[in-house]
Symmetry: C2
Subunit: 150 residues, 2 copies
């Protein structure tokens, strides 16, 4: 599913961003993160590598990376913003309300319907947000899915 556009650091360079010490560490953490961490969680992970990096630096950097299209910002239902490497195909999110886990999914059919709806209202879609808030089925015959924490 991932597109491999290179590491976060590489894409930063490609955008002409200065690669400072803190940015390198943050980029590394992002490369290793397959989930949807919030800023505090990122800072926690960054601090394990280099404890002197300030929370505000993480805030400034994620903002920068979102603006550069290197990161995606998501707003689920818990006040804080969560971030995800933009190095992947578009997908939407299913949130397991019992655990907070987030599962990614893709639906070209839904996307087509969205475009049709917008068009019929005289609009062109520039972005969308689709989130399914769910609870596990009391299920017989459990499936195997790749559920990423958070």
């Amino acid at each position: 599913m991932d597109r491999d556009l290179g590491s976060v650091a590489e894409r930063c360079r490609a955008q002409g961003l200065r690669m400072t010490g803190p940015r390198r560490v943050i980029a590394e953490v992002l490369d290793r993160s397959v989930d949807h961490p919030d800023v505090e969680e990122l800072h926690r992970r960054v601090s394990e590598i280099e404890p002197r990096i300030a929370l505000s630096t993480v805030y400034r950097t994620v903002r920068l990376l979102v603006e550069a299209g290197i990161l995606e910002r998501h707003l689920f239902n818990d006040g804080r913003a969560r971030y995800e490497n933009a190095d992947h195909e578009h997908h939407d999110h299913l949130i397991d309300m019992t655990t907070g886990n987030v599962i990614e999914f893709r639906s070209p059919e839904i996307e087509e319907l969205q475009a049709k709806i917008a068009e019929s209202l005289g609009y062109r879609i520039t972005g969308h947000r689709l989130q399914l808030f769910c609870v596990p089925m009391k299920d017989r015959g459990r499936r195997r899915t790749v559920t990423k924490r958070d």
Copy 2:
């Protein structure tokens, strides 16, 4: 499209909520609002009727009404929460990024697909959020749509 379950005040009573002065005014404002005002906007409208009602009272009341299922809370992309009378059929939102206007739409087809996706992942949907962020088409042949402000 609306279901007419009665006024907000009536539904409050039905839930056994105490009808105080401030709540009556807030309920009245909500009955008259066909858009998606945030708390400050609600407070502004409330203040025109009764200037002594505190902002915190509006916050407390909308929270109460959401919990009672009388109001719906929406989070679009501008930090604050917006509220809408729950006295209507379910719908999703198209946000005009050039004006901030919000258009409501319904798509049973999309909803069915959502349910299928969730089910295939072993989940049951308890809620969802679908928002289309759009810009107007440079259009010949404009349609007539009911576009509610905000």
